[in-house]
Amino acid sequence: MTMPLTPTPSRVAGMTGRAALIAAIIVVAAAALPLALSNYQVGLATEVLIFGILAMSIDILAGFAGRTSLGHGAIFGVSTYVVVYATTHGGLPPAVAFAAGVLAATVVAAIFGLLAVRTSGVYFLLLTLALGMIVWGICLRWTQVTGGENGMRGDVRPAVLLTNSAFYWAVLASAAVVAFAMWRFVRSPFGLTLRGIRDSESRMRSLGYNVPLHLFIGFTVSGFFAGVAGALYAMFNNFVSPSTVALAQSVEGVLMMIAGGVGTLFGAFVGAAAIIALENVVSAYTERWQMVLGITFILIMIFAPEGIVGKLRATLTRKVR
């Protein structure tokens, strides 16, 4: 793809020295944000990070395996539901509930994966969409457990993370770890096989790779990361309702990924920031903010189909040359 894969002598955890430095600077700058932002903006920044993780998990499949999933909102939401349920009804401590949520999301992703990996293109899109709708339907109608339309509420967030800043730092730390893990994942030999599948499924098959198995594992791993985002979201909102698992959630994740740049991985955070900021700034001026959002997407697709980060990267490379 974009980065050269030839090993260079100075590598920190698989990154070149320069990349590691940039990553460190970004994380430190992000950690300093609560000092500069208002309490509410810190909340928004937290949301950006959470949705950034979700968009990134979708990018693993879309950007590196060539499979765009419209079911990740549901996987994300399953984790949110399980975390809220486990703390409010099950009385489990937050850490255990968190693990349970991520586990549940991974299991759901594995089931989705089993059903969806043999398809590609628009069939994959539709199948994941349908699977997501099933989850939504269950959350909406299984009133005794999920609270139906009204959802569930409770004090999910652990007491030590009660302030916006403390929670932001916790999410930032998780996001840094998770983002690094995803980056390592797509650059691992296994990740390379996913790219191979994206570029030519038949060639990978004739080389002796078990394509469905690789896609299945890729899907499950991606679901695991979406589950982490969902569990964080449960702690962020202390609340869950069917809108968290609805199609709109999946679509939003996909749009964030596309706006940031498919296959750029870290573009997910830029896309999430752009969309959440836009939503909040524009909705302060007009109730027709969704229209503005729509027009913005059209403009991005026309002028920067490779996404914000993709476009920047392309421009920079051209200048260097």
Partner: protein
């Protein structure tokens, strides 16, 4: 960022974090306007109701020239998009960034519940004239969430159950949208009706946004019941009433509806088919009470439509807040005192034309009308009171403590008395 900017931002952040801590802060803020954050669904499935909510608030503020308790009022309106996640985010913005002294509004129960859970942590006074979820003023009560001028879902269907018994109805079938608001409204009627010796033949639950009611209406027609109770809102209500009429059931079986089923927001668009439907409510736009008439007339003159539940409730809700603020000289910064004052305030002068007070759980006690939809001289339809049940609380005639021991109404628990 230069140092000065940094300091400015940090100070601002600290001020927000420590708001209400130093007495000098509240003294300083006292000079400013009272900021009210209004959350209403201006987009999404219930947007039309949301617009009427805003109208109701603005109608009142216009009348008092945006002044309450001697201070200017600043109204900040946010769209909750009929979505709980958005509602939550907007509530955060109003409280944390907009520094609103209080929140009011929301229409859908799930948006209200999400915001209520949030203000439980912040302590911000939150008023819910529309959100009817029983438990917000019952089993899961939050002190700073007060249902001024609102009603709990089963509050009015309890007396309707009693009224149905008095009509001599023995068998009733219910049909309702399958969500908590529906479960609770049905539960109220069903419990009182069965405890009084009535029989619920069957209960139908259908998903929201059902286009075709014929499968249900066909079955209901076969049941040979004395009356049908329907709990429908919005477009479902419109469709149900139309299809009930075109199925020929209107001529045979009387229809009892939840108050939202014959609200102006629904029957405004209907014709003869809605005539004669009975429903229970605290507000009847066709009441001959002079105060109610004056309100309905002025509202109609200003907005070109007869006021609905949404307009009325928000109008009265803001009036309630105003009455409390007048009593305490506009000192909205003292949250504890403000909430206590609102809870103790008895509202007279509302369009209901009689004094209303809150029970110990923050839910109003009303004289409940049993209303009938009739045609006005100009051909429009409205709700006219037939009988009145005085002083009805959310607990009907039950002892609150005993009542709260039973589970909340749901699909599985409808309070049906076993014969």
């Amino acid at each position: 960022m230069d140092r000065r900017q940094f300091l400015k931002n940090t100070t601002a952040a600290l001020t927000v974090a420590g708001a209400g801590v130093g007495p000098w802060l509240s003294a300083q803020a006292q000079a400013g306007p009272i900021k009210i954050g209004l959350l209403a669904p201006l987009t999404g499935v219930v947007a039309s109701g949301g617009k009427e909510m805003v109208e109701g608030v603005q109608f009142y503020l216009d009348q008092v020239k945006s002044e309450m308790g001697g201070r200017k009022v600043e109204l900040v309106i946010e769209d909750d998009a009929s979505n709980p996640d958005t509602a939550l985010q907007k509530a955060r913005r109003l409280v944390e960034q907009g520094n609103c002294h209080m929140l009011i509004g929301n229409l859908l129960a799930n948006t209200g519940l999400a915001v209520a859970n949030y203000v439980k942590g912040t302590g911000t006074p939150y008023f819910i004239p529309i959100i009817a979820a029983d438990d917000l003023t019952q089993r899961q009560r939050i002190k700073n969430v007060i249902r001024v001028a609102g009603y709990s879902a089963s509050e009015f269907t309890h007396p309707l159950g009693d009224w149905a018994l008095k009509q001599g109805y023995k068998k009733i079938a219910t049909i309702s949208q399958d969500y908590t608001f529906g479960h609770e409204q049905c539960g109220g009627l069903v419990q009182v009706f069965t405890e009084g010796g009535g029989e619920i033949v069957q209960q139908f639950w259908h998903p929201l946004n059902t286009a075709d009611f014929s499968p249900y209406l066909g079955q209901i027609a076969d049941l040979k019941v004395d009356a049908i109770f329907a709990m429908e809102t919005g477009a479902d209500a419109t469709r149900f009433i139309q299809q009930y009429s075109s199925f020929g059931l209107k001529a045979k079986t009387p229809l009892l509806a939840a108050m939202n089923g014959t609200d102006q927001s629904v029957i405004r668009t209907l014709g003869e088919e809605c005539e004669g439907i009975m429903s229970p409510a605290h507000f009847a736009e066709g009441s001959d009470n002079p105060v109610t008439q004056k309100f309905a007339r002025e509202y109609e003159a200003k907005y070109g439509k007869i006021p609905s539940l949404y307009g009325f409730s928000m109008y009265s809700g803001v009036m309630w807040i105003d009455a409390a603020l007048k009593k305490m000289g506009g000192k909205v910064e003292d949250r504890e005192a403000f909430i206590d004052t609102v809870l103790k305030t008895e509202l007279d002068g509302s369009p209901l034309g009689k004094a209303v007070k809150l029970d110990a759980y923050g839910n109003p006690i009303y004289d409940v009308y049993i209303r009938k939809v009739v045609k006005r001289a100009d051909g429009k339809f409205w709700n006219v009171p037939v009988t009145t049940y005085p002083n009805v609380s959310q607990f009907w005639k039950y002892d609150p403590e005993t009542y709260l021991k039973q589970p909340p109404y749901s699909r599985n628990f409808q309070g049906i008395k076993k014969a």
